[in-house]
Symmetry: none
Subunit: 200 residues, 2 copies
DNA sequence: GCGCGACTGTCATATCGCTGTCATATTTTC
DNA sequence: GAAAATATGACAGCGATATGACAGTCGCGC
């Protein structure tokens, strides 16, 4: 649960933390909610995030504008907690298409997002949160070299200030977790960064 | 590193020298920093330049105004050098989208920039960074002889002082990496330099 | 509210590969 | 055959990456 009381902050947080869903009030200080929605939908990093818009009763115009700006649903104030929850669920359900839930498997190494688990030939692997995300990114973007910068953006999130060398450390932790059986998949590309590859 | 102590000069320099990033103090003589930011963002030539705003502690209003004026990030004084550097990096990272490049293939020899890899009929080849760049240059500039000087400029970069003979050594290393299957592609042009060619 | 363990980011240090240069061998040219 | 150009092998310095350790945070269970 994250909160922001103005559009700037909200924007920054959205980029930074990649929330599953955004609940947006039409009335916000600074940039209007609608403008924020538009912005979020425009940027690739945040375009996929579902947005629910809160509008005051009867403001039909707002609803239309909101939906046009890219909101996925709207709720009219006042609303019951029950209604809110129902809509949240509905939007989340729609927003979590099989794509993200699909497990990936390579040479006996399997990452299953639905159970949030990594297994090697059936046996569970010890793996930290960051390493999990790193591995997930790699397994869904194989055979491609990424710089430390790009990995920071993709795995850590956009507005995060971390030393590039930190990536090295997590790569090492990931390799350690993968063990001898699979660590050859995580390859160093000297002078560039790292790569996940089946070959070689 | 360029400096200006007022908005006019800064504006001029920005236009003139096209810096990668602008660090802007909120407090400036003449036009305020915020006004300058707005101006820079309005003009096409300077709109893409990332701007980081320096604001005094606690002036929340300034931050909001700054971001609305188009600043990409802000730092509150006082700040640590570490933080400054981190933010600079992060902003630059976001501002420099990676170029998209096509793979090149010749007679089963394939160089793929996205995976940063060289393969011979599917099998990965061992190749160092410099040899990789050298090969990339050659494959994108085939059938043409280059002097050692030109290669140094193109592959090593303009302002490097390196012996011309060094090129010979890297040519050799490249040939070695390519192995018997492909080294005939790298040809010596006696008295001139080298050439990448399919023909004899 | 507190203590504990897990996780993160950073640093210092160890390693390893890459680089440029040289001395020497080989090839080409005339 | 001599001179010039290029190829080759060796090497030491340097820079990038790997590793191990550490302190700060955070969430959780008590």
């Amino acid at each position: 649960m994250l909160e922001a009381d103005n559009a700037q902050t909200a924007h920054a947080i959205a980029l930074d933390r990649k929330p599953d869903l955004i609940l947006l009030d039409w009335m916000m200080p600074g940039t209007s909610g609608i403008e924020l929605a538009r912005r979020l939908k425009r940027e690739e990093a945040t375009a996929e995030m579902p947005i629910i818009l809160l509008t005051a009763k009867g403001e039909e115009d707002n609803k239309v504008q909101g939906l046009e700006a890219g909101a996925d649903d709207y709720i009219t104030k006042p609303f019951s907690p029950r209604e809110l929850v129902a809509r949240l669920k509905a939007v989340l359900r729609r927003a979590t298409p099989p794509g993200i839930e699909e497990a990936v498997e390579v040479e006996g190494l399997r990452l299953d997002p639905s159970s949030h688990r990594v297994t090697s030939h059936g046996g569970a692997l010890e793996i930290g949160p960051t390493e999990y995300r790193l591995l997930q990114f790699f397994m869904t973007h194989q055979e491609r070299a990424y710089t430390r910068s790009q990995l920071l953006d993709q795995v850590w999130g956009g507005n995060v200030y971390v030393e590039e060398r930190t990536v090295d450390v997590h790569i090492r932790r990931l390799r350690k977790s993968l063990g001898d059986g699979h660590q050859h998949l995580i390859q160093t590309v000297r002078g560039t960064g790292y790569r996940f590859s089946i070959r070689e």
